[in-house]
Amino acid sequence: MNIRRPATLLVASALIIALFPACLLAGSVDIPAADVWRALTGDATGRPVWGVIVRDIRVPMAVCAALSGMALAISGLLMQTLFHNPLAGPSIMGISSGSSLGVALVVLAGIGGGAAIGAATLVGALAGALAIMTLLLAMSVRVRSAAMLLIVGVLIGYLSSSAISLLNFFAPQQSVHAFVLWGLGNFTSVTPAQLPLFAALSLLFSALSAFYIKALDALLLGERYAANSGVSLPRVRRGIMFVSGALTAIVTAWCGPIAFIGLAVPHIARLALGTSRHAWLLPATALAGAATGLLTALLSVLPSAWGILPVNAITPLLGVPVILYIILNGRKIAYFN
Protein backbone atom coordinates (compact mmCIF):
# COMPACT_ATOMS: atom_id res chain seq x y z
CA MET A 1 0.00 0.00 0.00
CA ASN A 2 1.09 3.55 -0.73
CA ILE A 3 2.36 4.87 2.64
CA ARG A 4 1.48 8.49 1.73
CA ARG A 5 -2.22 7.82 2.04
CA PRO A 6 -2.47 6.52 5.64
CA ALA A 7 0.34 8.92 6.62
CA THR A 8 -1.75 11.88 5.41
CA LEU A 9 -4.73 10.77 7.51
CA LEU A 10 -2.44 10.31 10.54
CA VAL A 11 -0.81 13.74 10.15
CA ALA A 12 -4.19 15.47 9.73
CA SER A 13 -5.53 13.65 12.81
CA ALA A 14 -2.41 14.58 14.79
CA LEU A 15 -2.89 18.23 13.82
CA ILE A 16 -6.46 18.15 15.11
CA ILE A 17 -5.31 16.53 18.35
CA ALA A 18 -2.66 19.25 18.77
CA LEU A 19 -4.77 22.23 17.70
CA PHE A 20 -7.92 21.46 19.67
CA PRO A 21 -6.30 21.84 23.14
CA ALA A 22 -4.34 24.83 21.83
CA CYS A 23 -7.68 26.51 21.03
CA LEU A 24 -8.85 25.81 24.59
CA LEU A 25 -5.66 27.33 26.05
CA ALA A 26 -5.46 30.45 23.85
CA GLY A 27 -7.54 33.57 24.43
CA SER A 28 -7.67 36.97 26.07
CA VAL A 29 -7.74 35.38 29.57
CA ASP A 30 -4.70 33.30 30.51
CA ILE A 31 -5.96 30.04 31.96
CA PRO A 32 -3.39 27.44 33.03
CA ALA A 33 -3.61 24.06 31.31
CA ALA A 34 -4.45 22.34 34.60
CA ASP A 35 -7.43 24.65 35.09
CA VAL A 36 -8.61 24.06 31.55
CA TRP A 37 -8.55 20.35 32.34
CA ARG A 38 -10.43 20.97 35.60
CA ALA A 39 -13.08 22.92 33.71
CA LEU A 40 -13.47 20.16 31.15
CA THR A 41 -13.77 17.41 33.76
CA GLY A 42 -16.25 19.38 35.87
CA ASP A 43 -13.81 19.71 38.78
CA ALA A 44 -15.20 22.60 40.88
CA THR A 45 -11.90 23.44 42.61
CA GLY A 46 -10.86 25.91 39.87
CA ARG A 47 -12.06 29.50 39.44
CA PRO A 48 -15.73 29.43 38.41
CA VAL A 49 -15.23 32.13 35.76
CA TRP A 50 -12.51 30.04 34.10
CA GLY A 51 -14.92 27.13 33.98
CA VAL A 52 -17.48 29.31 32.22
CA ILE A 53 -14.91 30.63 29.74
CA VAL A 54 -13.66 27.15 28.86
CA ARG A 55 -16.98 25.32 28.76
CA ASP A 56 -19.26 28.03 27.36
CA ILE A 57 -16.93 29.92 25.05
CA ARG A 58 -13.75 28.05 24.10
CA VAL A 59 -15.14 24.53 23.73
CA PRO A 60 -18.09 25.62 21.53
CA MET A 61 -15.72 27.80 19.48
CA ALA A 62 -13.20 24.99 18.94
CA VAL A 63 -15.89 22.44 18.10
CA CYS A 64 -17.60 24.94 15.78
CA ALA A 65 -14.28 25.76 14.06
CA ALA A 66 -13.40 22.09 13.52
CA LEU A 67 -16.86 21.14 12.23
CA SER A 68 -17.13 24.28 10.04
CA GLY A 69 -13.73 23.62 8.48
CA MET A 70 -14.69 20.00 7.85
CA ALA A 71 -18.09 20.90 6.37
CA LEU A 72 -16.77 23.63 4.08
CA ALA A 73 -13.86 21.49 2.87
CA ILE A 74 -16.18 18.57 2.04
CA SER A 75 -18.57 20.97 0.31
CA GLY A 76 -15.70 22.32 -1.83
CA LEU A 77 -14.48 18.83 -2.70
CA LEU A 78 -17.97 17.74 -3.81
CA MET A 79 -18.26 20.81 -6.06
CA GLN A 80 -14.79 20.41 -7.54
CA THR A 81 -15.51 16.82 -8.54
CA LEU A 82 -19.10 17.44 -9.66
CA PHE A 83 -18.21 20.42 -11.85
CA HIS A 84 -14.87 18.87 -12.91
CA ASN A 85 -13.34 22.19 -11.94
CA PRO A 86 -10.38 22.58 -9.56
CA LEU A 87 -11.36 26.17 -8.81
CA ALA A 88 -14.91 25.37 -7.75
CA GLY A 89 -15.81 26.06 -4.14
CA PRO A 90 -18.69 27.37 -2.10
CA SER A 91 -17.34 30.94 -1.94
CA ILE A 92 -16.14 31.23 -5.56
CA MET A 93 -19.27 29.76 -7.12
CA GLY A 94 -21.70 32.03 -5.29
CA ILE A 95 -23.07 29.38 -2.90
CA SER A 96 -21.92 31.31 0.17
CA SER A 97 -23.40 34.48 -1.37
CA GLY A 98 -26.69 32.65 -1.91
CA SER A 99 -26.67 31.58 1.74
CA SER A 100 -25.82 35.15 2.74
CA LEU A 101 -28.77 36.43 0.73
CA GLY A 102 -31.02 33.94 2.51
CA VAL A 103 -29.70 35.12 5.89
CA ALA A 104 -30.01 38.77 4.78
CA LEU A 105 -33.68 38.22 3.96
CA VAL A 106 -34.17 36.99 7.52
CA VAL A 107 -31.93 39.44 9.38
CA LEU A 108 -32.33 42.60 7.25
CA ALA A 109 -35.80 42.21 5.74
CA GLY A 110 -37.23 40.52 8.82
CA ILE A 111 -38.67 37.58 6.87
CA GLY A 112 -39.29 34.66 9.21
CA GLY A 113 -38.86 36.48 12.49
CA GLY A 114 -35.85 38.77 12.40
CA ALA A 115 -32.37 39.21 13.64
CA ALA A 116 -31.44 36.26 15.89
CA ILE A 117 -29.29 33.51 14.38
CA GLY A 118 -31.45 30.42 14.66
CA ALA A 119 -33.96 28.30 12.80
CA ALA A 120 -35.09 31.07 10.42
CA THR A 121 -31.54 32.02 9.38
CA LEU A 122 -30.71 28.33 8.92
CA VAL A 123 -33.69 27.86 6.62
CA GLY A 124 -32.81 31.10 4.81
CA ALA A 125 -29.18 30.05 4.32
CA LEU A 126 -30.22 26.59 3.14
CA ALA A 127 -32.80 27.95 0.70
CA GLY A 128 -30.29 30.50 -0.65
CA ALA A 129 -27.54 27.89 -1.12
CA LEU A 130 -29.84 25.41 -2.81
CA ALA A 131 -31.34 28.07 -5.07
CA ILE A 132 -27.88 29.03 -6.33
CA MET A 133 -26.81 25.38 -6.70
CA THR A 134 -29.96 24.65 -8.72
CA LEU A 135 -29.33 27.69 -10.89
CA LEU A 136 -25.72 26.61 -11.48
CA LEU A 137 -26.84 23.11 -12.33
CA ALA A 138 -29.37 24.43 -14.84
CA MET A 139 -26.69 26.67 -16.34
CA SER A 140 -24.23 23.77 -16.52
CA VAL A 141 -26.49 22.05 -19.07
CA ARG A 142 -25.95 24.96 -21.50
CA VAL A 143 -22.56 26.23 -20.34
CA ARG A 144 -20.22 23.31 -20.99
CA SER A 145 -16.94 25.10 -20.32
CA ALA A 146 -15.84 24.71 -16.69
CA ALA A 147 -14.14 28.12 -16.80
CA MET A 148 -17.27 29.83 -18.09
CA LEU A 149 -19.40 28.08 -15.48
CA LEU A 150 -17.04 29.43 -12.85
CA ILE A 151 -17.60 32.93 -14.22
CA VAL A 152 -21.37 32.32 -14.12
CA GLY A 153 -20.94 31.41 -10.43
CA VAL A 154 -18.97 34.59 -9.80
CA LEU A 155 -21.66 36.64 -11.58
CA ILE A 156 -24.41 35.00 -9.55
CA GLY A 157 -22.38 35.88 -6.46
CA TYR A 158 -22.32 39.53 -7.60
CA LEU A 159 -26.09 39.47 -8.10
CA SER A 160 -26.58 38.12 -4.56
CA SER A 161 -24.21 40.77 -3.22
CA SER A 162 -26.17 43.43 -5.08
CA ALA A 163 -29.43 42.23 -3.53
CA ILE A 164 -27.78 42.16 -0.10
CA SER A 165 -26.56 45.76 -0.59
CA LEU A 166 -30.11 46.85 -1.42
CA LEU A 167 -31.46 45.08 1.66
CA ASN A 168 -28.72 46.72 3.73
CA PHE A 169 -29.67 50.15 2.37
CA PHE A 170 -33.30 49.87 3.43
CA ALA A 171 -32.79 47.92 6.70
CA PRO A 172 -32.80 49.45 10.22
CA GLN A 173 -29.33 50.31 11.55
CA GLN A 174 -29.41 47.66 14.28
CA SER A 175 -30.07 44.89 11.78
CA VAL A 176 -27.35 46.21 9.47
CA HIS A 177 -24.85 46.15 12.36
CA ALA A 178 -25.77 42.55 13.23
CA PHE A 179 -25.53 41.49 9.58
CA VAL A 180 -22.14 43.16 9.03
CA LEU A 181 -20.67 41.45 12.11
CA TRP A 182 -22.06 38.11 10.95
CA GLY A 183 -20.60 38.69 7.48
CA LEU A 184 -17.06 39.06 8.84
CA GLY A 185 -17.19 35.41 9.84
CA ASN A 186 -16.66 34.01 13.32
CA PHE A 187 -16.68 30.70 15.11
CA THR A 188 -18.09 32.13 18.36
CA SER A 189 -21.71 32.50 17.37
CA VAL A 190 -22.74 28.92 18.13
CA THR A 191 -24.01 28.97 21.71
CA PRO A 192 -23.55 25.95 24.00
CA ALA A 193 -27.28 25.32 23.66
CA GLN A 194 -27.08 25.39 19.85
CA LEU A 195 -23.90 23.32 19.66
CA PRO A 196 -25.62 19.88 19.63
CA LEU A 197 -27.85 20.96 16.70
CA PHE A 198 -24.93 22.48 14.80
CA ALA A 199 -22.79 19.39 15.43
CA ALA A 200 -25.58 16.98 14.51
CA LEU A 201 -26.38 18.76 11.25
CA SER A 202 -22.79 19.21 10.10
CA LEU A 203 -21.85 15.62 11.03
CA LEU A 204 -25.00 14.22 9.40
CA PHE A 205 -24.39 15.91 6.05
CA SER A 206 -20.65 15.17 6.19
CA ALA A 207 -21.50 11.51 6.73
CA LEU A 208 -24.04 11.59 3.87
CA SER A 209 -21.28 12.67 1.50
CA ALA A 210 -19.65 9.25 2.04
CA PHE A 211 -22.57 7.65 0.18
CA TYR A 212 -21.41 9.43 -2.98
CA ILE A 213 -17.82 8.10 -2.92
CA LYS A 214 -18.43 5.66 -5.77
CA ALA A 215 -20.27 8.20 -7.94
CA LEU A 216 -17.61 10.84 -7.26
CA ASP A 217 -14.87 8.44 -8.39
CA ALA A 218 -16.85 7.61 -11.54
CA LEU A 219 -17.25 11.35 -12.23
CA LEU A 220 -13.45 11.78 -12.29
CA LEU A 221 -13.50 10.38 -15.84
CA GLY A 222 -16.27 12.79 -16.88
CA GLU A 223 -20.05 12.54 -16.94
CA ARG A 224 -20.33 10.27 -19.99
CA TYR A 225 -18.08 7.60 -18.50
CA ALA A 226 -19.91 7.96 -15.18
CA ALA A 227 -23.27 7.40 -16.91
CA ASN A 228 -21.84 4.37 -18.71
CA SER A 229 -20.75 3.01 -15.32
CA GLY A 230 -24.37 2.93 -14.17
CA VAL A 231 -24.32 6.26 -12.31
CA SER A 232 -27.68 8.02 -12.59
CA LEU A 233 -26.42 11.53 -13.33
CA PRO A 234 -29.60 13.49 -12.54
CA ARG A 235 -30.05 11.72 -9.20
CA VAL A 236 -26.38 11.96 -8.26
CA ARG A 237 -26.15 15.63 -9.31
CA ARG A 238 -29.19 16.50 -7.21
CA GLY A 239 -27.89 14.53 -4.23
CA ILE A 240 -24.35 15.92 -4.32
CA MET A 241 -25.62 19.48 -4.78
CA PHE A 242 -28.05 19.09 -1.87
CA VAL A 243 -25.37 17.72 0.46
CA SER A 244 -22.79 20.30 -0.67
CA GLY A 245 -25.27 23.18 -0.46
CA ALA A 246 -26.52 22.03 2.96
CA LEU A 247 -22.97 21.83 4.37
CA THR A 248 -22.24 25.39 3.18
CA ALA A 249 -25.61 26.65 4.40
CA ILE A 250 -25.24 25.17 7.90
CA VAL A 251 -21.86 26.85 8.39
CA THR A 252 -22.92 30.11 6.75
CA ALA A 253 -26.10 30.39 8.84
CA TRP A 254 -24.12 30.43 12.08
CA CYS A 255 -20.61 31.56 11.22
CA GLY A 256 -21.06 33.84 8.20
CA PRO A 257 -19.84 33.35 4.62
CA ILE A 258 -16.37 31.90 5.21
CA ALA A 259 -14.09 32.07 2.19
CA PHE A 260 -11.24 29.87 0.90
CA ILE A 261 -11.48 26.84 3.22
CA GLY A 262 -13.78 25.02 0.77
CA LEU A 263 -11.62 26.01 -2.18
CA ALA A 264 -8.12 25.34 -0.81
CA VAL A 265 -8.38 22.37 1.57
CA PRO A 266 -9.34 19.71 -1.04
CA HIS A 267 -6.19 20.67 -2.98
CA ILE A 268 -4.02 20.31 0.14
CA ALA A 269 -5.53 16.86 0.70
CA ARG A 270 -5.02 15.80 -2.95
CA LEU A 271 -1.41 16.97 -3.00
CA ALA A 272 -0.66 15.23 0.29
CA LEU A 273 -2.39 11.97 -0.66
CA GLY A 274 -1.23 11.82 -4.27
CA THR A 275 -4.60 10.48 -5.40
CA SER A 276 -8.08 11.71 -6.24
CA ARG A 277 -9.78 8.49 -5.16
CA HIS A 278 -12.54 9.64 -2.85
CA ALA A 279 -12.29 6.73 -0.43
CA TRP A 280 -9.04 8.44 0.65
CA LEU A 281 -9.72 12.01 -0.45
CA LEU A 282 -13.00 12.49 1.39
CA PRO A 283 -11.72 11.55 4.87
CA ALA A 284 -8.43 13.38 4.25
CA THR A 285 -10.32 16.51 3.17
CA ALA A 286 -12.62 16.26 6.19
CA LEU A 287 -9.69 15.93 8.62
CA ALA A 288 -7.61 18.63 6.89
CA GLY A 289 -10.67 20.90 6.88
CA ALA A 290 -11.18 20.38 10.62
CA ALA A 291 -7.49 21.10 11.24
CA THR A 292 -7.67 24.26 9.08
CA GLY A 293 -10.77 25.42 10.94
CA LEU A 294 -8.98 24.94 14.28
CA LEU A 295 -5.86 26.72 13.01
CA THR A 296 -8.02 29.64 11.85
CA ALA A 297 -9.74 29.77 15.24
CA LEU A 298 -6.37 29.70 17.01
CA LEU A 299 -4.98 32.52 14.85
CA SER A 300 -8.15 34.54 15.38
CA VAL A 301 -7.66 34.65 19.17
CA LEU A 302 -3.88 35.27 19.13
CA PRO A 303 -4.13 39.09 19.40
CA SER A 304 -5.89 38.26 22.74
CA ALA A 305 -6.11 41.74 24.31
CA TRP A 306 -7.55 43.29 21.13
CA GLY A 307 -10.32 40.73 20.88
CA ILE A 308 -11.04 38.09 18.25
CA LEU A 309 -10.06 38.63 14.61
CA PRO A 310 -12.74 38.05 11.95
CA VAL A 311 -12.36 34.61 10.38
CA ASN A 312 -12.45 36.11 6.89
CA ALA A 313 -9.38 38.17 7.72
CA ILE A 314 -7.42 34.94 8.22
CA THR A 315 -8.75 32.37 5.73
CA PRO A 316 -7.43 34.24 2.64
CA LEU A 317 -3.95 34.26 4.25
CA LEU A 318 -4.14 30.46 4.47
CA GLY A 319 -6.04 29.80 1.24
CA VAL A 320 -4.64 32.20 -1.35
CA PRO A 321 -1.03 30.85 -1.27
CA VAL A 322 -2.40 27.32 -1.81
CA ILE A 323 -4.51 28.39 -4.79
CA LEU A 324 -1.63 30.39 -6.29
CA TYR A 325 0.65 27.36 -5.90
CA ILE A 326 -1.94 25.19 -7.66
CA ILE A 327 -2.35 27.67 -10.52
CA LEU A 328 1.39 28.27 -10.96
CA ASN A 329 2.24 24.56 -10.85
CA GLY A 330 -0.76 23.27 -12.79
CA ARG A 331 1.40 21.59 -15.43
CA LYS A 332 3.30 19.59 -12.84
CA ILE A 333 0.24 18.54 -10.87
CA ALA A 334 -1.09 15.23 -12.17
CA TYR A 335 -4.75 15.86 -11.50
CA PHE A 336 -4.78 18.76 -13.97
CA ASN A 337 -3.48 16.64 -16.85
Binding site: A218, L220, L221, Y225, N228, S229, R270, T275, R277
Partner: protein
Amino acid sequence: MLELRNLTVGYDGHAILSPVDLTLSGGIAVLIGANGCGKSTLLRTIAATQLPVEGHVIIDGCDMHATPLRRTARMMSMVFTDRTIAGDLTVGEVAALGRTPYTNVFGRLGADDRAIVSDALRAVGIDGMSNRKLATLSDGERQKAMIARALAQSTPLIIMDEPTSFLDAASRIDTMHLLRSLRDDHGKTIILSTHDIAPALAVADTLWVVDRTTRTLVHGSRDTVLASGVMDRVFSSPSVRFSPSALDYR
Protein backbone atom coordinates in the same frame (compact mmCIF):
# COMPACT_ATOMS: atom_id res chain seq x y z
CA MET B 1 -27.54 -10.43 -29.15
CA LEU B 2 -28.01 -6.73 -30.15
CA GLU B 3 -31.25 -6.00 -31.92
CA LEU B 4 -32.42 -2.65 -33.23
CA ARG B 5 -36.17 -2.85 -33.79
CA ASN B 6 -37.71 -0.08 -35.88
CA LEU B 7 -35.19 2.23 -34.18
CA THR B 8 -35.60 5.87 -35.15
CA VAL B 9 -33.02 8.26 -33.77
CA GLY B 10 -33.19 12.04 -33.60
CA TYR B 11 -33.95 15.01 -31.38
CA ASP B 12 -37.17 16.43 -29.95
CA GLY B 13 -39.29 13.95 -31.85
CA HIS B 14 -37.63 14.71 -35.20
CA ALA B 15 -35.97 11.73 -36.88
CA ILE B 16 -32.55 12.23 -38.45
CA LEU B 17 -32.37 8.69 -39.88
CA SER B 18 -34.99 6.35 -41.32
CA PRO B 19 -36.06 3.51 -38.99
CA VAL B 20 -33.36 0.85 -38.54
CA ASP B 21 -33.99 -2.87 -38.14
CA LEU B 22 -30.92 -5.02 -37.68
CA THR B 23 -29.39 -7.76 -35.58
CA LEU B 24 -25.75 -7.94 -34.51
CA SER B 25 -24.75 -11.30 -33.13
CA GLY B 26 -21.01 -10.77 -32.71
CA GLY B 27 -17.82 -9.52 -34.30
CA ILE B 28 -16.81 -5.97 -35.10
CA ALA B 29 -19.36 -3.62 -36.65
CA VAL B 30 -17.77 -0.52 -38.12
CA LEU B 31 -20.02 2.56 -38.29
CA ILE B 32 -18.94 5.14 -40.82
CA GLY B 33 -20.37 8.23 -42.41
CA ALA B 34 -19.65 11.88 -42.98
CA ASN B 35 -19.46 14.36 -40.11
CA GLY B 36 -22.86 15.35 -38.77
CA CYS B 37 -24.72 12.44 -40.36
CA GLY B 38 -25.99 11.07 -37.01
CA LYS B 39 -23.39 8.46 -36.07
CA SER B 40 -22.97 9.71 -32.52
CA THR B 41 -26.73 10.12 -32.08
CA LEU B 42 -27.20 6.51 -33.15
CA LEU B 43 -24.50 5.34 -30.71
CA ARG B 44 -25.92 7.40 -27.84
CA THR B 45 -29.35 5.92 -28.51
CA ILE B 46 -27.98 2.38 -28.58
CA ALA B 47 -26.09 3.14 -25.36
CA ALA B 48 -29.39 4.32 -23.79
CA THR B 49 -28.02 7.76 -22.91
CA GLN B 50 -30.46 9.30 -25.40
CA LEU B 51 -34.10 8.36 -25.91
CA PRO B 52 -35.12 7.09 -29.35
CA VAL B 53 -37.78 8.92 -31.34
CA GLU B 54 -39.32 5.51 -31.81
CA GLY B 55 -38.41 1.83 -31.61
CA HIS B 56 -36.30 -0.32 -29.33
CA VAL B 57 -32.71 -1.31 -28.57
CA ILE B 58 -32.67 -4.88 -27.31
CA ILE B 59 -29.63 -6.61 -25.84
CA ASP B 60 -30.03 -10.25 -24.82
CA GLY B 61 -33.79 -9.76 -24.64
CA CYS B 62 -33.67 -6.57 -22.51
CA ASP B 63 -35.02 -3.29 -23.84
CA MET B 64 -32.17 -0.89 -23.00
CA HIS B 65 -34.45 2.11 -22.54
CA ALA B 66 -36.63 0.27 -20.04
CA THR B 67 -33.77 -1.28 -18.07
CA PRO B 68 -32.22 0.24 -14.91
CA LEU B 69 -28.94 2.05 -15.63
CA ARG B 70 -26.93 -0.21 -13.34
CA ARG B 71 -28.07 -3.20 -15.38
CA THR B 72 -27.39 -1.61 -18.77
CA ALA B 73 -23.89 -0.83 -17.46
CA ARG B 74 -23.38 -4.59 -17.15
CA MET B 75 -24.41 -5.10 -20.77
CA MET B 76 -22.44 -2.46 -22.66
CA SER B 77 -19.36 -0.42 -22.00
CA MET B 78 -18.15 2.60 -23.92
CA VAL B 79 -14.93 4.26 -25.04
CA PHE B 80 -15.21 7.88 -26.12
CA THR B 81 -13.13 10.00 -28.40
CA ASP B 82 -11.89 12.54 -25.84
CA ARG B 83 -8.42 12.62 -24.32
CA THR B 84 -9.46 11.72 -20.80
CA ILE B 85 -8.28 13.84 -17.89
CA ALA B 86 -8.60 11.50 -14.96
CA GLY B 87 -7.40 13.42 -11.97
CA ASP B 88 -4.25 11.84 -10.71
CA LEU B 89 -5.52 8.29 -10.94
CA THR B 90 -3.17 5.48 -11.85
CA VAL B 91 -3.80 3.27 -14.86
CA GLY B 92 -4.90 0.48 -12.50
CA GLU B 93 -7.34 2.80 -10.74
CA VAL B 94 -8.82 3.95 -14.06
CA ALA B 95 -9.31 0.34 -15.19
CA ALA B 96 -10.81 -0.48 -11.79
CA LEU B 97 -13.53 2.14 -12.38
CA GLY B 98 -14.89 -0.35 -14.93
CA ARG B 99 -16.04 -2.41 -11.95
CA THR B 100 -18.34 0.42 -10.76
CA PRO B 101 -21.58 -1.38 -11.77
CA TYR B 102 -20.60 -4.37 -9.60
CA THR B 103 -19.22 -2.76 -6.42
CA ASN B 104 -20.95 -1.59 -3.22
CA VAL B 105 -21.90 2.01 -2.45
CA PHE B 106 -18.31 2.86 -1.49
CA GLY B 107 -16.87 1.30 -4.67
CA ARG B 108 -14.87 -1.30 -2.72
CA LEU B 109 -13.23 -3.93 -4.94
CA GLY B 110 -13.33 -7.60 -4.04
CA ALA B 111 -10.72 -10.20 -4.96
CA ASP B 112 -12.71 -11.17 -8.07
CA ASP B 113 -12.87 -7.53 -9.17
CA ARG B 114 -9.10 -7.14 -8.77
CA ALA B 115 -8.48 -10.27 -10.83
CA ILE B 116 -10.78 -9.00 -13.61
CA VAL B 117 -9.00 -5.61 -13.63
CA SER B 118 -5.59 -7.33 -13.86
CA ASP B 119 -6.84 -9.49 -16.74
CA ALA B 120 -8.17 -6.40 -18.55
CA LEU B 121 -4.84 -4.58 -18.20
CA ARG B 122 -2.99 -7.65 -19.46
CA ALA B 123 -5.38 -8.09 -22.41
CA VAL B 124 -4.74 -4.52 -23.49
CA GLY B 125 -0.99 -4.87 -22.95
CA ILE B 126 -0.53 -2.22 -20.27
CA ASP B 127 -0.29 -4.40 -17.16
CA GLY B 128 3.25 -3.11 -16.62
CA MET B 129 1.90 0.44 -16.34
CA SER B 130 -0.66 -0.31 -13.65
CA ASN B 131 0.92 1.99 -11.05
CA ARG B 132 1.72 4.83 -13.43
CA LYS B 133 -0.41 7.97 -13.36
CA LEU B 134 -2.66 8.28 -16.39
CA ALA B 135 -1.34 11.83 -16.80
CA THR B 136 2.15 10.47 -17.56
CA LEU B 137 1.05 8.29 -20.50
CA SER B 138 1.06 9.01 -24.22
CA ASP B 139 -2.31 9.55 -25.92
CA GLY B 140 -2.29 6.02 -27.33
CA GLU B 141 -1.51 4.50 -23.92
CA ARG B 142 -4.24 6.61 -22.33
CA GLN B 143 -6.79 5.31 -24.78
CA LYS B 144 -5.61 1.75 -24.05
CA ALA B 145 -6.28 2.44 -20.37
CA MET B 146 -9.82 3.52 -21.29
CA ILE B 147 -10.25 0.32 -23.33
CA ALA B 148 -9.01 -1.65 -20.30
CA ARG B 149 -11.67 0.15 -18.23
CA ALA B 150 -14.31 -0.92 -20.76
CA LEU B 151 -13.00 -4.49 -20.74
CA ALA B 152 -13.02 -4.57 -16.91
CA GLN B 153 -16.71 -3.68 -17.09
CA SER B 154 -17.25 -7.28 -18.29
CA THR B 155 -19.94 -6.47 -20.85
CA PRO B 156 -20.64 -8.53 -23.95
CA LEU B 157 -20.87 -5.34 -26.06
CA ILE B 158 -18.30 -2.53 -26.27
CA ILE B 159 -19.24 0.68 -28.10
CA MET B 160 -16.41 2.91 -29.28
CA ASP B 161 -17.15 6.42 -30.50
CA GLU B 162 -14.20 7.54 -32.65
CA PRO B 163 -11.64 6.24 -30.15
CA THR B 164 -8.68 6.84 -32.45
CA SER B 165 -9.38 10.37 -33.64
CA PHE B 166 -6.62 12.05 -31.59
CA LEU B 167 -4.07 9.25 -31.95
CA ASP B 168 -1.03 9.13 -34.23
CA ALA B 169 -0.97 6.71 -37.17
CA ALA B 170 0.90 3.92 -35.34
CA SER B 171 -1.43 4.09 -32.32
CA ARG B 172 -4.47 3.99 -34.63
CA ILE B 173 -3.34 0.76 -36.25
CA ASP B 174 -2.28 -0.62 -32.87
CA THR B 175 -5.79 0.07 -31.55
CA MET B 176 -7.36 -1.80 -34.49
CA HIS B 177 -5.15 -4.83 -33.74
CA LEU B 178 -6.29 -4.60 -30.14
CA LEU B 179 -9.96 -4.62 -31.20
CA ARG B 180 -9.33 -7.73 -33.28
CA SER B 181 -7.82 -9.40 -30.22
CA LEU B 182 -10.80 -8.40 -28.05
CA ARG B 183 -13.10 -10.01 -30.63
CA ASP B 184 -11.08 -13.16 -31.22
CA ASP B 185 -9.62 -13.85 -27.75
CA HIS B 186 -12.30 -12.39 -25.47
CA GLY B 187 -15.45 -12.91 -27.54
CA LYS B 188 -16.47 -9.24 -27.41
CA THR B 189 -18.96 -7.70 -29.79
CA ILE B 190 -17.71 -4.25 -30.78
CA ILE B 191 -19.40 -1.31 -32.47
CA LEU B 192 -16.74 1.09 -33.72
CA SER B 193 -17.54 4.53 -35.06
CA THR B 194 -14.57 5.95 -36.92
CA HIS B 195 -13.24 8.11 -39.74
CA ASP B 196 -10.17 5.86 -40.09
CA ILE B 197 -11.84 3.92 -42.85
CA ALA B 198 -8.90 1.91 -44.15
CA PRO B 199 -7.65 0.33 -40.88
CA ALA B 200 -11.22 -0.08 -39.62
CA LEU B 201 -12.34 -1.93 -42.74
CA ALA B 202 -9.42 -4.28 -42.25
CA VAL B 203 -10.93 -5.50 -38.97
CA ALA B 204 -14.64 -5.07 -39.79
CA ASP B 205 -16.99 -8.05 -39.96
CA THR B 206 -20.05 -5.89 -40.47
CA LEU B 207 -20.38 -2.43 -41.98
CA TRP B 208 -22.92 0.21 -40.96
CA VAL B 209 -22.76 3.14 -43.37
CA VAL B 210 -24.88 6.25 -42.85
CA ASP B 211 -25.99 7.57 -46.24
CA ARG B 212 -26.82 11.20 -45.57
CA THR B 213 -28.49 11.77 -48.93
CA THR B 214 -31.13 9.09 -48.29
CA ARG B 215 -30.93 9.38 -44.47
CA THR B 216 -30.63 5.62 -44.20
CA LEU B 217 -28.29 3.23 -42.43
CA VAL B 218 -26.96 0.73 -44.96
CA HIS B 219 -25.78 -2.37 -43.14
CA GLY B 220 -24.57 -5.84 -43.91
CA SER B 221 -21.41 -7.89 -44.08
CA ARG B 222 -18.27 -5.95 -44.96
CA ASP B 223 -17.97 -7.33 -48.47
CA THR B 224 -21.69 -6.98 -49.27
CA VAL B 225 -21.74 -3.34 -48.26
CA LEU B 226 -18.48 -2.59 -50.10
CA ALA B 227 -19.93 -4.15 -53.23
CA SER B 228 -23.20 -2.22 -52.91
CA GLY B 229 -21.70 1.08 -54.03
CA VAL B 230 -22.89 2.96 -50.97
CA MET B 231 -19.31 3.86 -50.02
CA ASP B 232 -18.89 5.53 -53.37
CA ARG B 233 -22.06 7.58 -52.83
CA VAL B 234 -21.10 8.60 -49.31
CA PHE B 235 -17.40 9.30 -49.69
CA SER B 236 -16.74 10.24 -53.29
CA SER B 237 -16.83 13.78 -54.62
CA PRO B 238 -15.74 15.34 -57.93
CA SER B 239 -12.18 15.43 -56.58
CA VAL B 240 -12.16 12.23 -54.48
CA ARG B 241 -13.07 8.75 -55.61
CA PHE B 242 -13.58 5.89 -53.15
CA SER B 243 -11.78 2.73 -54.20
CA PRO B 244 -12.20 -0.55 -52.27
CA SER B 245 -9.05 -1.86 -53.94
CA ALA B 246 -7.03 0.78 -52.04
CA LEU B 247 -8.10 -0.82 -48.75
CA ASP B 248 -5.44 -3.48 -48.77
CA TYR B 249 -4.62 -2.94 -45.14
CA ARG B 250 -4.59 -6.44 -43.73
